[in-house]
């Protein structure tokens, strides 16, 4: 409004101070965006998979327990099931690197029907299905390591005592928030090797079973049906939607969540002190000016407004640079490839960036409160007293 130019000029009065404050706020917010994104990406991805109508069956006793492979075909025969696949985690070394990307044994005939958001050219799919020792890898993994169709991919020392000598038969692609760094191979190859070389020890384990349902409504009843079927067996199951399955993983991170929350609070506190200090220093230098404004007729509400607006503006600028800047940064740079397999992807969701911006505005407001009140309360006569 009509006072904007005065407020803006005040913010630019001591450019060094304003820049340093903006820098502090933006760096700290950048950090907070990283931390919060860790948590919110998980939530976002889990939300996004809802539409695929997939449910996951695992052993009710945890990952350590097997799910017999026969159940994959038993479940496939149930009404409402479009397709099923085993999803057996191998987790091996590639060229002495420990687990640089996820590796799973799957059913090549059904895997891309079930994960239909992932795309594979038809000829590559055919090649994958026809080659027992074939595998498909994600586009980003291929890019990271310069792998092409036809390259060998030897894996060893995984969860099973066999080594897998795989050949890349296809490179799949998909949306940015899916794991495009996986390697999926033929479950049958793993199983055959176990039977042939190790007397079958550990064979027949599907790991988990991923099931594509016809529609969203039957997911709950299907899950109950499956668990009921196997409740009295040696390996009872727990079936839940893919979304719930993902949330389960998130829960495992445990205390990291509350740690991030505490760090966030501490950082906000720190920034309020930093921005508040800068604002207080500025206002201390303007006591006469404040008194003059009061003399002319600017009342307390207006003075409060001037100070708070300036504080919010400066901190808000830090928010734009830090929060929005972080979003742009991680959209432009794929940091996941340097995470040694910990992160298949990383980005700052919009909801998080907006949260960061809002946080910066709140920090600005809080930092301005005390200086604003002091300015408003300053008796005119005190401020005008000539400093000799």
């Amino acid at each position: 409004m009509k006072f904007l130019h005065y407020i803006l000029r005040n913010a630019r009065r001591n450019p060094l101070r304003s820049v340093l404050t903006v820098a502090s706020v933006s760096v700290c917010l950048f950090l907070m965006m990283i931390l919060i994104s860790f948590l919110s990406i998980n939530d976002e991805v889990n939300d996004s998979v809802r539409i695929f109508n997939r449910i996951v069956t695992m052993s009710s006793q945890g990952f350590g327990q097997p799910v017999p492979i026969v159940r994959v075909s038993e479940i496939a025969a149930l009404d409402g099931v479009i397709a099923t696949t085993p999803f057996s985690w191998y987790g091996g070394k590639y060229n002495e690197e420990v687990m640089p990307f996820a590796q799973f044994g799957v059913d090549p005939k059904t895997i891309f029907t079930i994960y239909d958001e992932l795309h594979l050219p038809a000829d590559q799919l055919k090649a994958f299905q026809e080659d027992m020792t074939g595998c498909v890898i994600g586009k980003k993994l291929a890019g990271d390591r310069g792998l092409k169709v036809g390259d060998r991919l030897p894996l060893k020392d995984g969860a099973y005592p066999v080594n897998l000598d795989l050949t890349i038969r296809g490179i799949y692609d998909g949306p940015a928030n899916r794991d495009l760094r996986m390697c999926m191979f033929n479950w049958g190859y793993l199983d055959e090797s176990l039977k042939r070389d190790f007397g079958g020890r550990g064979s027949g384990n599907a790991g988990i079973v991923v099931i594509k349902c016809r529609n969203a409504e039957i997911m709950a009843s299907l899950s109950k049906q499956i668990d009921k079927e196997y409740a009295n067996s040696d390996t009872p199951t727990r079936t839940q939607t893919e979304e719930q399955f993902g949330k389960m993983f998130a829960e495992m991170i445990g205390d990291v969540r509350s740690f991030i929350g505490n760090v966030g609070l501490a950082v906000v506190f720190s920034l309020v002190c930093v921005a508040g200090n800068a604002m207080a220093m500025s206002m201390r230098e303007r006591t006469t000016e404040v008194a003059v404004l009061k003399a002319i007729g600017f009342g307390k509400p207006l003075l409060l407004f001037f100070v708070l607006a300036e504080a919010v503006l400066v901190a808000g600028l830090g928010g734009v640079v830090g929060a929005l800047g972080s979003k742009l940064f991680f959209d432009a740079f794929d940091v996941a490839r340097y995470s040694a397999g910990f992160l298949p992807f990383f980005y700052v969701p919009w909801s998080t960036a907006i949260l960061g911006l809002a946080l910066s505005l709140a920090i600005g407001f809080l930092s301005g409160v005390v200086p604003a009140f002091r300015a408003a309360q300053l008796p005119v006569v005190t401020g005008l007293r000539k400093v000799v």
């Binding site: 009509k2 006072f3 130019h5 005065y6 000029r9 005040n10 630019r12 009065r13 006469t288 000016e289 003059v292 404004l293 009061k294 003399a295 002319i296 007729g297 600017f298 009342g299 307390k300 005119v380 006569v381 005008l384 000539k386």
Partner: protein, 244 residues
């Protein structure tokens, strides 16, 4: 108490009755003004003189509504301003008083034009009207062409002229000046005083000015002397020659 010589009956701009002021610092009370009575007519140009510590700035502050007296009434334009609350007084000042300070007290981050416009932002005038009024005021003080200069780009005399423009752009009832020439060289001081006289004579502005400078006081129509918080002399201009 002596009333200044009146040539025709004028309305009273300012009336003080039994006004005292003391400051408190912790337990110590410092009395500054003692039981003052004063009447100022509209259109007067009043100079307040006296040694340091005589209380002249305090008196000015009371008249301008910057402070409350410890005792007594201060009536401006017939209204007892001692009854007003802090926020009412602030609004009242905006409507009735124009300030000129010794150190100009312009906002350094605003241009001359924007500084003069400042008091108008408190009104509901449209942008265009505001700009018109500002240009008029700047023209009267003789600073056309310097509108976009910042205070640091102006000389002391020019800054004070901007300050004066700011003081009367809202057409206030009363102009109050605290040592307006205190920081200026001889010739700039002269220009400023000319301006004040012009405002008094051409625009009938009532002016109350605190000053050390006898030459400044000379331009006023009436001089009040204060010593140790009491009025000790009240000389109309016509009688000034006899004293000086």
């Amino acid at each position: 108490m002596k009333k200044g010589a009146k040539s025709m009956p004028n309305k009273l701009a300012i009336v003080l009755r039994g006004v005292s002021k003391e400051y408190r610092r912790d337990e110590i009370r410092i009395p500054v003004l003692f039981d003052l009575d004063l009447e100022v007519e509209e259109g007067e140009y009043l100079a307040l003189m006296g040694p340091s510590g005589s209380g002249k700035t305090t008196l000015l502050n009371l008249i301008a509504g910057l402070d409350h007296p410890t005792a007594g009434e201060v009536c401006v334009r017939g209204q007892d301003i001692t009854q007003l609350s802090d926020s009412e007084l602030t609004r009242w000042r905006g409507n009735h008083i124009g300030f000129v300070f010794q150190l100009y007290n312009l906002i350094p981050v605003l241009t001359a034009l924007e500084n003069v416009e400042l008091p108008l932002l408190l009104t509901s005038l449209s942008r265009q009207r505001r700009k018109e009024n500002v240009r008029t005021a700047l023209r009267i003080v003789g600073l056309e062409g310097r509108e976009d200069h910042y205070p640091r780009q102006l000389s002391g005399g020019q800054e004070q002229r901007v300050a004066i423009a700011r003081a009367f752009v809202t057409d206030p009832y009363l102009l109050v000046a605290d040592e307006p020439t205190g920081d200026l060289d001889r010739s700039s001081a002269g220009e400023i005083l000319e301006l004040l006289v012009q405002l008094n004579r051409e625009f009938q502005k009532t002016i109350v000015m605190v000053t050390h400078d006898p030459l400044a006081a000379q331009r006023a129509s009436r001089i009040l002397r204060l010593d140790k918080g009491q009025l000790v002399g009240d000389i109309a201009q016509s009688q000034l020659g006899a004293i000086l």
